[in-house]
């Protein structure tokens, strides 16, 4: 399975964030997006996930049986966790399990050490716990492509290590990860792209 991006251009509010960006990612590969704030990392991730319409260029995935669009093949972890505070931890994950659809929630709960918090309303969790609950969605439904935008924000070092192992496992199992992060994830990325002023967007 390949994710193919060809001469992608994105203009936001009159400013060209990046122009004629092309790259290719195969199963089992990871890509790190670098660059200062506002250089278009988030916009690129949102374009790839299908939220943001692109000005020109193409983004496509080949080697997928039912040629579902990228949206159904990926997880997108943004700054927001996607957690409902009036539902309990278990109910949150149960919903994603029946909606995405996923297999079961226990592995997700255990890997993110949320097992004993299952019946507590998510509103009462700390920021770090709530972030882990948001990230747990990655394990509820098995999807090949992960788009991660500053995933380890408000995570403590222990959880960061756990998360790094999960990402490594996902890549090892043939998944793809594109991450935009300032903090080193503890994962060595095979490829990396730098956006914004420093590199001069005239590649």
């Amino acid at each position: 399975m390949h994710l193919i991006v060809e001469n992608l251009t994105c203009v936001r509010g009159g400013r060209t964030l990046f122009a004629d960006l092309s790259f290719r990612l195969a199963s089992g590969e990871s890509l790190r997006l670098q660059g200062p704030n506002g250089s278009g990392k988030t916009s690129l991730l949102r374009i790839l996930a299908g939220f943001l319409e692109l000005d020109s260029g193409t983004v496509r995935v080949d080697g997928v049986e039912n040629d579902a669009d990228i949206g159904e093949q990926c997880h997108y972890v943004g700054h927001l966790n996607g957690v409902k505070s009036t539902l309990t931890v278990g109910e949150n994950l149960e919903f994603w399990c029946s909606y995405l659809p996923g297999t079961e929630i226990n592995t997700a709960l255990d890997r993110f050490a949320l097992g004993d918090l299952q019946d507590i309303p998510a509103g009462m969790l700390s920021a770090g716990q709530r972030r882990r609950l948001g990230l747990a969605r990655l394990l509820v439904a098995d999807r090949p492509i992960w788009f991660l935008d500053e995933p380890t924000v408000s995570l403590d070092t222990g959880s960061c290590r756990i998360f790094a192992e999960l990402v490594e496992a996902h890549i090892g199992a043939g998944g793809m990860v594109i991450a935009a992060t300032h903090v080193p994830l503890g994962v060595e990325f095979q490829k990396s792209i730098t956006l914004g002023k420093m590199a001069g967007a005239d590649q």
Partner: protein, 71 residues
């Protein structure tokens, strides 16, 4: 009065209001046009060239804001 019959007041009132509003629109659009042109001239005088002749920089071309509004 003016041979317009008993309700001349209403006739004058409606014509006056129409004239006032239409004239108001004409004046506002003319004035707005003049200010935009003046601002444009000032900006160009300060060297913010419209068609970015400079090589490579990712600066926006003013009309790019249209392609920006294309999304």
């Amino acid at each position: 009065m003016f041979g317009l019959g008993p309700h001349y007041g209403f006739i004058f009132a409606s014509y006056a209001i129409v004239a006032f509003v239409l004239a108001g629109m004409i004046v506002w659009i003319a004035w707005d046009g003049r200010t935009q042109r003046r601002l444009l001239a000032e900006l160009e005088a300060q060297g913010v060239t419209r068609r970015s002749k400079r090589h490579g920089s990712a600066s926006a071309d003013p009309d790019a804001v249209f392609s920006g509004s294309d999304k």
